[in-house]
Every structure is written in C-alpha cells, then in structure tokens.
C-alpha cells in the first residue's frame, strides 16, 4: 500500500429536486482512499451511500464538490473505475464467458486479449467449467462471482462495490467475501465497499467510515488494526472484532434508535 491517492471525494454535496425544494442526500463528504486500500462505507438506509458510488463512477455529477480517480477529476464514466451491485446484472443471452467480456468488449479490447483475460479470471474464481453456461443455469453465488469477474476484467484501479453479497445466503457470502478479499489483495486493487453488514465491513476493510442519517455526512472513521485483510474468515475469530462491531453499533445508534 503506497500513499498514492486512488479515489478521492472532496467536499461532495448532492441534492435532488423534491417537490418545491431540494432533498440533500449527501452533505460535504470528503474521503480519500490510498492505493490498495479497502474502505467500507456504512450507514443507515437512505444516507446517500449509493449516491457516492454513482458519483465515483461518473454516472452522476455532484451538486457541489468533486471526485478524483487516479488524480483525474471525474467528469464522466472512465476506465479507472468499475462497479458491482447487489444485482448481478448478467445478460441472460450471453454465456458466462461472454458476460465477463462485456466491459472489455465495449472498451474495444482486442478479441484475443479479451478471451485471455476472461479465461484467467474464470479460472481464479473457480468458474472455468461454467464458461459456456448461461446465467439462468447458475446459482446466485456463482452469478455474483461472474459479476465480480466482469468487474475485474476491465482492469480498473478502483472498485466500487455496492452491497455486492447482500442477496446471497450466509454461507455463500462468507466464501465470496474471502474470494473478494484474496482477489483484491493479489491484484492490489483499491476498493470502496458499501455494506449494511457490520461484520463484513470490519473483516474485509482497512478502514470503516460511518455515515449519518440523511443528509449523509461522515461521522466516524475506524481503522481496523487486525492482520490478514485477505482472509476475512480468519479475521472473524480475532478477539478485537467484537470491539470494532460494538463501536459501529454505537455510532449507528443501533439498539437506541427510533425505527425509521
């Protein structure tokens, strides 16, 4: 991990028109992710986490402030960033291999190189034998793995992950979390992970940022000082985990909050 900043939000505010006035989703958020860092963003529903992801990927422009990726101001979608959502967004008419190549195909990477990258990723993610299958033939966990492969195929420096595993069952989720952690570590990728799962946030990240209720602000930053970031299953058993999770619960007012 170097001190190079890969992803940065500088004083970002986002307002949406609502009725006669505005709804402020995000208020003055500043975040910086160093090269190779995995940072989780956690907060109550509707606090603007996904808005930040859209701004980072260049799909929406912030009302105020700016986002930078690899030192370049984000003006629109760019090849440095790739995102992955809770929905796998696989195209049902494409095989697994073709789905993995979707992004590189749009970016006009040469056909041979596309195939080589897809093949390599499918092997890393234990999907090689399914490369000619269609999405409807796969389980939810496998589909999310294909989505991860598609995200990695464009070789982004920054991954934006929006609750990528919240739709799969608990056991599959643990397997996928470990695969993600290992892949991120091996490839040295920087990632911003949006999640509702406190344990996921703590076991996968170098740092956890806590956001407030709308309008979303960063209200706390917790550095996760536990080794083995590439092995969340091992991290789960670390004695310090409970302390981090308790602190997060405190910051999120879990247990004391009035239901939204």
């Amino acid at each position: 991990m170097s001190d190079l900043i890969r992803l940065e939000y500088r004083n970002v505010t986002m307002r949406f028109p609502q009725g006669a006035g505005y709804l402020t989703a995000v208020q003055g958020v500043s975040i910086a992710l160093r090269d190779g860092e995995v940072v989780s963003l956690i907060g109550p529903s509707g606090c603007g986490k996904s808005t930040l992801l859209n701004i980072g990927s260049g799909l929406t422009a912030p009302s105020e402030g700016e986002a930078f990726v690899d030192g370049e101001r984000v003006e629109g979608p760019n090849a440095h960033v790739a995102f992955m959502l809770q929905k796998d967004l696989l195209l049902p008419w494409r095989t697994v291999a073709e789905n993995v190549m979707f992004g590189v195909e749009i970016q006009a990477v040469a056909a041979g190189e596309r195939k080589r990258r897809a093949q390599a990723l499918l092997e890393t993610l234990n999907l090689a034998e399914f490369s000619e299958h269609y999405p409807h033939q796969l389980s939810g966990g496998m589909r999310q793995r294909v989505a991860l492969a598609r995200t990695l195929a464009v070789d982004p420096t920054v991954l934006l992950l929006d609750e990528p595993f919240s739709a799969v069952d608990a056991q599959t989720r643990m397997v996928l979390q470990r695969e993600l952690a290992q892949t991120l570590k091996r490839a040295g990728k920087t990632a911003l992970l949006i999640t509702h799962d406190l344990q996921e946030a703590v076991t996968l990240s170098d740092r956890v940022l806590v956001m407030s209720r709308r309008p979303g602000r960063i209200i706390d930053e917790i550095v996760i000082d536990i080794p083995d970031r590439d092995d969340p299953l091992k991290r789960r058993h670390h004695p310090a985990i409970a302390g981090y999770i308790n602190r997060l619960m405190d910051r999120l007012d879990i247990g004391t909050a009035v239901p939204a």
Partner: protein, 264 residues
C-alpha cells in the same frame, strides 16, 4: 422439472391430443346425421373432404390458398418490421413517445378491419388493400411489445454499460435490442394470427382471389361445404405462420430457460 417427467408429460399430452382429434373428426362425420342436422347447416367431414378435392381440381384451391398465404406473409413481414421499427424509435426517444402517443392510441382504438373498404376504394381489387389491412393490424401488438420491452430494461443495466463508457449505439445493440427480443417474439406470435384476420377481411370485402373470396363465393352459392373448406384452409395458413414464428423464436431465444414448450 426433470427430463423423465417432462418426456412422460409429452407422451401423455400427445396421446390425449390425438384422441381428442379423432373424437372431434368422428363427431363431425357422424354427429350431424345422428342429431338430424341437415348438411347445409353442418356438412359431415366426408362431404367437406370431397368438396376440398373438387375445389382443388375445379376452383383452384391451391392457387387461392397461395394468394392468401402470400398476402399474409407480406402483411405480417411488413407490419412486423414497421411495428418493431417504430417501437424501437419511440422507445429510445421519450419526446417522440409523448408527441405520438395520442395518435398511436387513436389508431389502435380504431377498428382496423373497418379500413378495408376504404383501401379497396383506393387501390382496387388487387392484393394491396389486403396486405395493407394486415400491416395495420399486425403493427400494434409488435410495436407495443417492443416499446414496453425498451421501457422495461433495468436502468442499472444501462448504467453498467455507461460506466464501461458504452456509446448510445452500443447500449442499444448490446442491451436494449437483445432484451427486447422475448417480448418482440410474443408480439410476433400475436401478429402472425392477426395477419390472417386482416387478409381475410380484405378478401371478403372485394376481389376475386384468395380464400376469403372462395368463402364469400361459397356463401353466395349456399355451398356450406365450400365455406367449411375455406375456413379450414385459413386456419391452416394461420397455423403455418404461427409455427414459423415459433421455430424462429426457438432458434433466436435458445438461451432462455427451457420451459414446457407446448407451442402456445
């Protein structure tokens, strides 16, 4: 569904289908006699079969069937192309949809078959008015299905493509167009049966060619078997058109989960 149950379902289903057909044909042959229904109301199967042979040799049944089939094919193909084209165009431009929707709705509500006499006034007793009625009647289900499909594409899918820096054309060809194919084929299935309706109405209103012409000719002669033969042939033409759509659909949508495909 496992292979075993689906194949046994097919065997049983086919057996019941064939039994129903035999029962139907038998009822057609002997039912009218037993119930003392005169042949000019319901002619028995054998009488209709004889009439079909007579029409084949004397009245040019093959020729008239061919004319109707050609009109159905032309009307269906042109109507589908037009419907799909307009559907995609409007689907991609909210402005166009807003501007055109009242007119499209009005045209959709107007009974298309009522245009047949008008088209014959315009184009005479040719094949063209029949094709035109078919085009008009096929147009709507195809267009509406394509439009709904384009509207229904998951915005996150579009955003995914945009995040990869896809152009508008890439979004269309790589996402919107393939996503619209299943509904498009549903529209084509409906259109293939409606095309026959459009063509027959045109032929009934005027002209001296096609199964619709034989139908009204038989009616004029009080030749009930001839009317029956024409109806059977029209059903046959419609069935072939429908089956062709299904065959193409199965080729194109081969990636879809295998359902129990019964041909409906």
């Amino acid at each position: 569904m496992s292979n075993g149950t689906s194949s046994s379902l097919m065997v049983r289903g086919t057996a019941v289908s064939v039994a129903l057909l035999i029962a139907f044909l038998a009822a057609w042959q002997w039912g009218p006699g037993l119930l003392r229904i005169p042949p000019f109301i319901i002619p028995p199967l054998s009488m209709v079969a004889n009439e079909a042979l007579r029409m084949w040799h004397v009245s040019g049944l093959a020729f008239h069937t061919g004319v109707t089939a050609a009109e159905v094919l032309a009307g269906f193909a042109l109507g589908s192309l037009l419907g799909a084209f307009i559907g995609y165009l409007i689907g991609m431009s909210p402005t166009a949809e807003f501007a055109l929707s009242p007119y499209i709705l009005a045209l959709q509500i107007a009974p298309k078959v009522a245009f047949a006499p008008l088209f014959i006034l315009w184009m005479g007793f040719t094949v063209y008015p029949k094709i035109l009625v078919a085009i008009l009647i096929v147009f709507f289900p195809v267009m509406v299905n394509v439009l709904t499909a384009i509207r229904g594409v998951d915005p996150d899918l579009i955003n995914l493509a945009r995040a990869f820096k896809a152009s508008r054309a890439q979004i269309f060809w790589k996402i919107e167009f393939p996503a619209s194919l299943p509904p498009l084929f549903a529209g084509l299935r409906i259109g293939s049966t409606l095309a026959v309706v459009g063509v027959v109405v045109g032929e009934l209103v005027g002209g001296n060619m096609g199964l619709g012409y034989l139908l009204s000719f038989g009616e004029g002669q009080a030749n009930t078997p001839m009317v029956f033969v024409s109806i059977v042939m029209l059903t046959l033409v419609g069935s072939v058109a429908y089956l062709l759509v299904i065959l193409i659909e199965q080729r194109v949508l081969h990636y879809m989960p295998k359902r129990a495909q019964m041909g409906f």
